[in-house]
Subunit: 147 residues, 2 copies
């Protein structure tokens, strides 16, 4: 499942009548993408291994930032039942293959900090936040409260 | 439909065994909210009028910011067919009523810039962006490209 297949509102469809040609930019993508269309998208690593897919996208309501994707690394190593919060900055949208790239190998994922769906962590907790960013080599954003 | 009803992964459920009491913070909400759970949530104004609901949430892939909610202001003034991009900062999550508040009245919405689903605007276009923010009295974020 990818964002074009999940495009219920037609935001990525190019209208040839309107665009005047196949290369004319139109519509929000790929600079702006619909959160709902990104849910269910596959996540691969740079070795082309399928790691799992996006189950949720966590929004920080205080800062207006996208903070985490919640992934399920299904189908290997018995990790199918667990969920993993991955910093948004650790994921890159691969518009050619219409999927996300996460630069970790499967061995690294074995020790990734996960949780089960009945026990979601307090994602606003600074200690938890630091540990997740340390694991993926990303940086927490400094707090920028909404005015 | 509200985020608790759409909570497929149980992120907002408080486990009393774990929390030790009804007031103990646990889980991501309300500081962090799942994008998928927010889709379909109602939008009211401060007069308590039902304006419509959230159809999509647009993420700026360059900056990692939540940029717009795409709303449908259904059921009045023949606006049911149109979609409206509303700056994320113009919306406030009302956790008491489990819905969003948008501070505009129905008359103001009559002249709101909308689009139909077959013609999504280029939301990365600076002119479009400015006009939307001017309408709702919000400010575009300065570009903060991902490193």
């Amino acid at each position: 499942m990818n964002y074009e297949e999940r495009d219920a509102y037609g935001m990525y469809k190019i209208s040839s009548a309107q665009s005047g040609g196949p290369d004319t930019r139109q519509g929000p993508g790929p600079h702006l993408m619909g959160a709902d269309t990104l849910i269910g998208n596959d996540v691969y690593n740079r070795d082309g291994e399928d790691l799992g897919d996006v189950k949720e996208i966590m929004l920080d309501m205080r800062s207006g930032r996208v903070s985490y994707a919640v992934l399920s690394f299904g189908g290997f190593m018995g990790m199918g039942e667990k969920l993993f919060a991955v910093p948004w900055d650790a994921l890159k949208l691969d518009t050619e293959n219409k999927r996300f790239t996460l630069n970790v190998n499967k061995q690294q994922l074995e020790s990734a900090p996960g949780f089960d769906k009945d026990h979601w962590p307090d994602m606003a907790d600074a200690t938890w936040e630091k540990s997740i960013h340390a694991y993926y080599g990303t940086k927490p954003y400094s707090p920028t409260p909404r005015v």
